[in-house]
Amino acid sequence: MQAAELPLWAAVPVSVLLLLGAGLALVGSVGLLRLRSFYDRIHAPTLGTTLGIGSILLASMLFFSVLQTRLVLHEVLIGIFMVVTTPVTFILLSRAAFYRDQQEGNPEVPALPPRQDAPEP
């Protein structure tokens, strides 16, 4: 079956989900531009990496399942790996910024505690 032969009942939800996912990624990017501090900005891309990617994966599953008339579930794996890996990136980024700001005595972050033993990385 060709993409153009996709029945309407499937084409509509696929388009809606794709637009929703793309829209959320766009809002996340706008957020990167608009929000002021690093710590505020780190929240913006999570829109794209959670509900944004979720909608696009759902659209992809629906599209290929209908097109190939069998259940296509590869996308579940992409979803699982996204959920497990992207938080690690965000946590590492925010920690790097946090430790630097703390060392520099930036008033934006909580002050370094008086004890000198640095927490385990």
Binding site: G28, H43, T46, I91, F98, P119
Partner: protein, 163 residues
Amino acid sequence: MARLIPYPLFALALLALWLLLAGSLTPGTLLLGGALALGGSWALVALPPPEARLHRLGAVPGLLWMVLVEVVRSNHAVAKIILWPGQAGTRRSGFVRIPLDMRSPYGLAALACILTATPGTVWVEYDRAESTVLLHVLDLVDEETWVRTVKDNWERRLMAIFE
């Protein structure tokens, strides 16, 4: 049995992953997936992960559903803050330190993933000595509310599963 398949749950997950990836249930795929799962679980013996005891697995679907609901809700909230910043002129972001009772490394990892994956909160630092976690919250209305949300919504449920 424990000798033959050292981490049965992990092996099963690897097999499921392989079958999903291949998208078929033919004997060949099953055989190859089974070999992969066995090899993977034997390899894990070389780097023994901390022991995990799972209790109340029945609570997992409820937790996943809550995560989904929370992700949708906070996506909406953060999108609103980004698109109409004027409306939230008094919005204040900041750090919250939350004392945790949970010690299980798996529970803490799950909590870090959940909190960071929900837009609006990022896990910044976990202090093992004092057992507190530092969060950055985009829309920090009231610190007390956040402490209670994290403890009641997530920590209690995760502790029921992992401890």
